[in-house]
Amino acid sequence: MADYSWPEAERRALIGSRPARLDGPVKSTGFAKYPSDQNPQGLLAAKILTCPHAHARIVGIDTSAAEAMPGVRVVHVIQGEGAEIQWAGDEVAAVAAVTEEVARDALRAIRVDYEVLPHFVTEADRDGAPDARPAGERTEGDPDAAFATAHRTVERTLGMPQMAHMCLEPHGQVCSWDGDELEVHASTQAVSTLGGQFATELGVPASQVRIRTEYMGGGFGSKFSPDRWGIVGAELARKAGAPVKLFLERDQEVTVAGSRPSAFARIRASADEQGRLVAWDSDSWGSGGLPGTGQTPLPYVFSRLPNRRTRHTSVPTNLAGSRAWRAPNHPQACFLTMAVLDDLADELGLDPIDFLERNLDLTGRADTYREQFAIAAEMASWKERWQPRDRTREGAVHRGLGVSVHTWGGRGHSSNCDVTVHPDGAVEARIGSQDIGTGTRTIVAQVLAETFGLELHQVRVSLGDNVYPQSGPSGGSSTVGGVTASTRRAAQDALREVLVHVAPRLEAEPEQLVAGGGRVFVEGDSSRGMSWREAAAQIGGAPISVQGRNPGPGRLISSGVGGVQIADVEVDIETGVVQVERMIAVQDCGLIINRRLAESQVYGGLIMGVGYALYEEWIPDPVSGRLLNADMEFYKLAGLVDVGSLEVHMMTGPGYDERGVIGLGEPPVISPGAAISNAVANAIGVRVPYLPLTPDRVLDALAGRGGPA
């Protein structure tokens, strides 16, 4: 069997280096055409009418006035008379018209009569929830006995609300039919699987649905399916006999197109006199809208904690269903766990890093965390700067440090990649993956160029189209492992075929030949060689085309990473305002393909983390059942000046590289909420129990009030 492996460190020309992303120039000049930028000839604009009530039954719907309006081409009822609507923002009807303005006029002309029904949207209120239901209970060891004999115990009620994905490019697509063939320019994370889903819903063979996503404006876990608006868009286009653009308006995007489930918990945790964790009891609940939630994985990271009891209650609400949000469940579990452990360290009179280190045997990767704690502490000058919690209340501005740890899997997904070598030396890869902003296009090109010993600009990568070989959806940090492994296998196989043709000319065996520096030559004797172009010419008149797959032979990828983050904050105890001064992230991800892009993922995770730690939350109105902040004025993202100084250390080199490629998109977004909350507790001497750490919550905590979630 052929050998598949990454080149040794001293032989890597591109892997592990810092090339700029290949699509940087088209993006920074606005020349990149996103799905929402497609304007084919004869395009119609579509808009969706949504239900304003959180729970209602449709009594009647009259679309006749809309249908009669000039410029309106199709009016489509999505949910008609008798339908029960379960959340505000659910889709009721759609219109395709000659312009967006006319389509909006037509929506206003549609009359819908509703019977308004009772609703519940207060996710934190488990006791008041009409449909709350048990969702798992588990006991290991004897927690009651362990609590009874423990040295120190803390008990806290903590939580974080639902929040939005807030993709900047809204969900949507442009659909065009040519006979019974459908082409969809979709803003999606799942190019290879989306076509089949459209086909099933529309009753056409999957072979007749083309998906194209050259660029897309953010997904974060929310863009894996066609969604109802995708199918409706295709139906409108079919009925109209014209292409239809349907992208959600911002209020719809915030309300129905993606949220992260909430998580609340009453937690008790105990330690013995040596600072060893001995008991855990968590009673958690949360909501992901109408479907409720599953069990939150508690205790997080320290999952081998003996004597533990976990209970979970699912709280369904009349809000749109949640979606996978960057590292599903982990940020919530991390915050709930690390906040309680931080409070327990304080109760024990221990430095929290010392306390966590005493318990690393309860984790799955003690050595990694120990190394990462040392590096992060050094970067933060933790030993010199960390002080026990400040309970003095002297002066307005208080500084604090907080720490957190996290873990993630990140194994590469199923992926196929076609690599073709042309007789003129041109090299290309075709892969049904997508570049959601992580740099997939660039890393595939790096693997390709590295394997053939070429420069980055000498290879071509085509992705974002389901005519290319199937590659998995971009979720779970699975893309980098999947696409680099399939590309490497295909490229190594294609190169071996080339070398078979070249070997006789160099009077050598194929196994003696290597490609590097734009040449093919006998290993150890570079004078016996030829240029890549000349080598490729040896293959004859037809190109060599090889498909590589993942999973497959050879140790190219693995999974399982750890990370440590430290937050350094300032809190003004008069105003309750928290300012993140500095975030430090130490992260491993196996073999790094592109240092620059890998660091960008970590910076991005930290920045998104500052956002959900300080600003971001869905605010449903209990009275109307609608979100009060389905916009970007009152749903706050972190801005450029809000994020402080960011410092990233990547664990790379011997001991890490041999593990192969592991995904990185998700782990760095897990710890910021916990680290920042712990830093605030360190600064002001009291735990602010809920995220985001808005001024009102900080002031409530300082005043000794728990405050509302």
Partner: protein, 210 residues
């Protein structure tokens, strides 16, 4: 598309001097005044209303004169994207908050979502595409590439235009100037580290790749 765009061959200055454009601009400005304000201004200049039907306008977009008929309610952003197929500026919040639609009007950065297209009649509008192209990037665009100041790239056009405007006014901006110049733009992927490197690498009057 309803536009009949063509290269005008005129500079922006001569375009603005042209009588037709000047008259159109003045007429529209008067038409957009409230009745009281217009009455107080001058009896002879009776307020002129336009719309709700399409209004013929001309404006200069990235150095090209564009003529089109557009309803007064159409924003500059939607007009650029939907009528003129100039899709660099992005529609994200559509409420003057996120800055993804930032363009230059007469060299000044504005939110294209918060301006009616007819208000830009007779004026010059520069979008991110007008600053440079992939083969001939503006210094700021080059610096965005070199500092990896973009991920999904959907906020990037607005950030690039806002950054170019900031650095044109303040070649070595202070923290307050950075906040004023870029505080009105938002990114979701978290590219602020790179954007800050673009801006802070700009000290001394030029943008360096850092």
């Amino acid at each position: 598309m309803t536009d009949d765009a063509k290269r005008s061959g005129l500079s922006r200055r001569s375009f603005l001097r042209s009588g037709a454009a000047g008259a159109l601009s003045g007429g529209l400005a008067a038409g957009l005044l409230t009745e009281e304000a217009a009455g107080a201004a001058a009896d002879t200049d009776a307020p002129k209303t336009v719309g709700p039907g399409p209004v013929e306008i001309e404006l200069e977009v990235n150095g090209v004169t564009r003529r089109l008929a557009v309803e007064p309610r159409v924003t500059l952003l939607d007009g650029l994207r939907d009528r003129l197929d100039v899709t660099g500026p992005k529609r994200v919040c559509d409420r003057g908050t996120c800055g993804a639609c930032t363009v230059l009007e007469e060299g000044r950065p504005i939110y294209a979502c918060s301006r009616l297209m007819i208000e830009s009649a007779g004026r010059s509008v520069t979008t991110v595409e007008g600053l440079g192209s992939p083969d001939a990037m503006h210094d700021v665009q080059q610096a965005f590439v070199e500092n990896d100041a973009q991920q999904c790239g959907y906020c990037t056009p607005g950030f690039v235009v806002a950054t170019a405007a900031l650095l044109a006014r303040h070649p070595a901006p202070s923290e307050q100037e950075i906040e004023a110049g870029l505080g009105g733009n938002l990114c979701r992927c978290g590219t602020y580290k790179g954007i800050r490197a673009v801006v802070e690498g700009a000290g001394g009057g030029g943008v360096s790749g850092g």
